[in-house]
């Protein structure tokens, strides 16, 4: 794998966010460089979604700093959003619109010229193998197909930074493998990708991994390096050991 270099496209420094009595983010920090696929791995409630929303400028922070391409995602939101693709965890497209209409909506929102839209949407439909279902309503898609459509919508404007919140959650193994293959293809085009997942076995598919627990990172590094350093056989083992150390 090519060593990614340069300034981080996505950077979180000491993120803190509280919701009432619970602390969702407790000093979490990470950096993703262009051409790098960074996996934020951790169980439910580790603060992954909150961290992603903070980076996308969708929530206010109680402390710390988020930067996207060197910009503040809230104060310089407009500029950030033109260059950022987000795929939320929950169903977030329009169920009563067809696959093509959902794509067309996002094409218009990003003001893509007609020709560019046609070329990109065709290519994305082909890559995701959704082309035969272009006229199907989004609520009639299977879980895996829906996720691929959401990915296509997030990629339509060729973002420099792509953030995906648990894209493989609730997806069958075949579709999961397809999604990862697609992601690798786009990363090699120089995109910075941040992906969150609760599945430990997916950690190995990333260039770098951060183990999230209770709003902060327990450990961070290239997957094989992390395993070698700790002497654990699997990420699950490694994770359990790190949690025990953290108390």
């Amino acid at each position: 794998m090519a060593a990614p270099g340069g300034e981080p496209a996505l950077e979180a420094r000491g993120l803190v966010r509280r919701f009432g009595a619970t602390t969702a983010l407790d000093g979490l920090g990470l950096a993703v460089r262009p051409g790098e696929l960074y996996g934020l791995v951790g169980p439910d409630g580790a603060g992954k979604t909150t961290a992603i929303r903070a980076l996308a400028g969708l929530i206010d922070l109680d402390g710390g700093e988020a930067r996207v391409l060197g910009l503040d995602p809230i104060r310089e939101g407009r500029a950030v959003r033109e260059r950022l693709g987000l795929m939320p965890q929950q169903f977030s497209l329009y169920r009563d619109l067809s696959v093509m209409e959902n794509l067309r909506f996002f094409g218009r929102v990003y003001c893509l010229p007609r020709a560019a839209f046609r070329e990109r949407s065709e290519r994305l439909l082909q890559l995701t193998r959704l082309a035969p279902f272009a006229d199907r309503r989004a609520d009639a898609l299977s879980g895996g197909m829906y996720k691929k459509l959401a990915l296509a919508c997030a990629l339509l404007h060729r973002p420099e930074v792509l953030i995906l919140d648990e894209p493989t959650n609730g997806v069958d193994p075949v579709s999961r493998r397809e999604l990862w293959a697609l992601l690798h293809e786009f990363v090699h085009g120089g995109m910075a990708v941040l992906i969150s997942t609760p599945y430990m076995d997916e950690a190995e598919r990333c260039d770098r991994v951060g183990l999230a627990h209770r709003g902060r990172l327990l450990d961070e590094g290239a997957p094989l390096e992390l395993l070698a350093r700790s002497g654990a056989a699997t990420f699950e083992e490694l994770f359990v050991a790190r949690i025990r150390e953290a108390g």
């Binding site: 919701f19 929303r53 996308a56 400028g57 969708l58 929530i59 206010d60 939101g77 407009r78 959003r81 033109e82 950022l84 987000l86 939320p88 929950q90 169903f91 977030s92 497209l93 329009y94 169920r95 009563d96 619109l97 209409e101 909506f105 996002f106 218009r108 929102v109 990003y110 003001c111 919508c153």
Partner: protein, 373 residues
């Protein structure tokens, strides 16, 4: 600027697809007003036909019989008893008659002398609506009778006919003519507030708000794109209600069409803004529907002057009604449709509508935070 217009267009296009795909929205917007208008126009009519009338003719002359005929023949009044003047009140008390026409002895002679005849109408005032109807109809009848006497006496010296009240614009006091303009305001208010309250809350509930917030769409662009199709739908609704009023209930359109259109548009903008504000605060379709229905239905029905004249309200309620845009539309519609009033009379109502629309849309946009939590 051009990109902004493109984004608003994208939003409006998507929203139009939602409307076309959801038969409930179209039904709510187009069928409900028609149904309600027909129900109110035909079913819930304040018109009283064949009012039971006791007649006490103490004169028994050609002139007195002519007056009685004038009351009875158009079937507005139904003679139920011929009594002496003293017995008339008993019939009213028993509820046997709603009115009693009392023609005094010497009625014809008085008319011949050129003096008022002194005929009386006693009215059962227990039900204010019915009493008003009886009075209005009696006015119309007495006026007609006076005019026909004038015509009959043409050439001779016309006797003065005493007329105390002259009901204009709606001389037959038909409730449809009075109700349709008011009802259309009410229906527009409820429809517009509910529709928008649902659409923005729906965006939160479906989870699509997260995707919209992460896109370059500005808050104002989201709001404008969402409102535009509903504004068009609302104007269609307005047109539908007005044409139904004209064709089914003979409501006249005496005033200026563009002014009517402008009032409708401003009113809708205010109502859509109110719906938007509610859904921005509520974020759930259920709460938004309830708050939307409550905040549009009751004020538009009770405080707008649709059923109860604003002038008769106690001061605090009258002050409250100043915040209800339906009040201005009801006034404007009655003015434009029935009286042919123009901007010279209605400008304060237009200004009030503009202020309301500007304030609610500004409030809604300000409260519409681009944050998920």
């Amino acid at each position: 600027m051009r990109r902004s217009a493109l984004r608003v267009g994208a939003m409006a296009w998507k929203e139009t697809l939602h409307i076309l795909r959801d038969p409930r929205t179209l039904l709510l917007a187009l069928a409900m007003p028609v149904f309600l208008l027909l129900l109110f126009g035909f079913g819930v009519s304040f018109d009283v036909d064949r009012i039971p009338l006791a007649i006490a003719d103490g004169d028994r002359t050609e002139a007195s019989r002519a007056l009685v005929r004038a009351y009875v023949e158009p079937h507005e009044f139904e003679p139920v008893a011929a009594v002496e003047a003293e017995g008339a009140e008993a019939l009213l008390r028993q509820g046997y008659a709603l009115g009693a026409l009392i023609v005094p002895h010497g009625y014809a002679e008085a008319l011949d002398r050129g003096e008022p005849g002194g005929a009386q109408l006693l009215v059962d005032g227990a039900d204010g609506v019915i009493a008003n109807q009886v009075l209005a109809k009696s006015d119309a009848t007495a006026l007609a009778a006076g005019q026909s006497r004038l015509a009959a006496a043409a050439g001779a010296i016309a006797p003065p006919v005493a007329v105390s009240v002259w009901t204009r614009y709606n001389p037959e006091a038909r409730s449809a003519i009075f109700m349709v303009p008011g009802l259309s305001a009410f229906l527009l208010a409820v429809g517009a507030v509910l529709l928008t309250a649902l659409t923005v809350a729906g965006e939160w509930e479906r989870g699509s708000m997260e995707q919209l917030f992460a896109s370059p769409l500005g808050r104002l662009e989201i709001v404008a794109g969402k409102l535009a199709p509903y504004l068009v739908l609302g104007e269609l609704q307005f047109l539908l209600v007005l044409s139904l009023g004209t064709f089914a209930f003979d409501v006249p359109i005496r005033g200026n069409g563009p002014l009517l259109f402008a009032f409708g548009l401003l009113f809708l903008l205010g109502m859509l803004g109110q719906g938007l504000l509610i859904s921005v605060l509520a974020k759930s379709q259920l709460v938004a529907t309830q708050a939307g229905a409550l905040s549009s239905l009751l004020p538009s029905l009770l405080l707008s002057g649709l059923l109860f004249p604003v002038e008769n309200m106690p001061a605090p309620l009258r002050a409250l009604s100043a915040l209800v845009p339906a009040r201005y539309l009801v006034r404007a519609l009655r003015g434009i449709l029935l009286k042919g009033a123009g901007l010279d009379v209605l400008w304060p109502d237009l200004v009030a509508q503009v202020i309301f629309a500007a304030v609610v849309v500004a409030l809604a946009t300000a409260r519409f935070k681009r944050r998920l939590a």
